[in-house]
């Protein structure tokens, strides 16, 4: 089973920032493959969501790109900028906190036990 795109949408930026934090530089296809592999195909990023997010993060100054030519085509590697490194930490802590709150909220029995 894979998760719905609505669920992934709100966390996509954080997922991308975290992956780039751990892997230094990655290109789009590599990111999708890595996420598939790490989540045993439970999270499958769509190209339609990934590239707009990458471009938005780049426009916000959180990502840097470098281009490498692969024969006739070019491959764009994305990596974190210094402000991206700071932001990724913030986003990860925020999401962790959110997940904890959500698990408490949805699993009331354990919460009140």
């Amino acid at each position: 089973m894979s998760f719905s795109s609505e669920l992934i949408k709100g966390t996509l930026k954080t997922i991308v920032l975290k992956l780039l934090k751990d892997n230094k530089k990655m290109y789009g296809y590599e990111i999708t493959q890595k996420v598939r592999e790490l989540t045993s195909e439970k999270i499958q990023l769509t190209e339609g969501a990934l590239y707009p997010t990458l471009h938005a993060l780049e426009a916000e100054g959180l990502l840097r790109t470098e281009v490498e030519y692969q024969g006739k085509r070019m491959r764009k590697y994305y990596s974190l900028s210094p402000s991206g490194v700071r932001k990724s930490q913030e986003r990860i802590s925020e999401l962790t906190d959110f997940i904890n709150t959500l698990s408490f909220l949805l699993d009331l029995k354990t919460g009140h036990a």
Partner: protein, 245 residues
């Protein structure tokens, strides 16, 4: 593993362009992505074209240019906070400028005119249009969007015709009358009949409509529209009284 030829890479790039993806960096991202998939998943003697079409189909729901639209949406959202700041600052500046202008005008101090022009241009060409952009994001129905757009036009026209009138610029009267007619016959009915239908907006709509009606009514009463004969009389009076000055 499949090896793509240069012609096949050109074919993919041209197809991505033909499907409406216009931003070059996005074209290159998608091209590399498709090439990676083809190279990884297609067998050495597989049918390239057929495989390409199944692959590209996985990228979108209706058409490929969705990705371009989504990108544009995310990038404009980036400016959201900056735009909101400009809107608030321009609104505050307008209020201050207009109040100072009014004092200057009453006291007949020099500079009143330039302050008035600045204030009104600011409110009608910066503040109101920015407000419209934000409001358009909040609603999804085409009818609501139209109401906001018409309201902004009416508001801007109101301020601009007031400016023309105060500055005695030519065309002020016709602008003024057009604004009032537009507000009364186009904007107000659309606003009223849309808002009155929904339970949650009914009360608000009623109150705002009454207020708007009284404003438009009062403004219209204050507007001097002369029948042609009367206007001639005025001219005569002015010419008669002029020599005595």
């Amino acid at each position: 593993m499949y090896l793509l030829s240069d012609e096949q890479i050109d074919f993919i790039l041209n197809d991505i362009r033909a499907r409406g993806v216009e931003t070059e960096s996005l074209q290159q991202d998608l091209l590399d992505h498709v090439c990676c998939i083809v190279e990884q998943e297609l067998e050495e003697n597989g049918d390239f074209e057929q495989f390409y079409h199944t692959v590209i189909r996985r990228f979108y729901r209706r058409e490929l240019r969705e990705i371009e639209e989504e990108r544009a949406l995310l990038l404009t959202f980036k400016n959201y906070y900056a735009m909101r700041k400009v809107m608030i600052v321009s609104g505050l500046l307008t209020a201050v400028t207009l109040m100072v202008a009014a004092v200057f005008k009453i006291m007949h101090w020099p500079g009143a005119a330039i302050l008035l022009v600045l204030g009104i241009v600011q409110v009608s060409l910066i503040f109101l249009p920015l407000l419209l952009i934000f409001k358009l994001r909040e609603v999804s129905a085409a009818r609501d969007k139209a109401i906001f757009a018409l309201g902004t036009i009416a508001g801007s026209a109101y301020f601009l015709s007031m400016l023309f009138k105060i500055m005695h610029w030519p065309g002020a009267n016709i602008m003024w009358v057009c604004t009032l007619l537009f507000s009364f016959f186009v904007f107000l009915p659309l606003y009223f009949f849309t808002g009155i239908r929904k339970e949650e907006t009914r009360m608000n709509t009623l109150v705002s409509t009454i207020l708007l009606l009284s404003v438009i009514g009062t403004q219209f009463a204050l507007t001097r529209i002369h029948p042609p004969g009367l206007e001639q009389k005025n001219v005569v009076v002015t010419t008669v009284t002029q020599p005595s000055n």
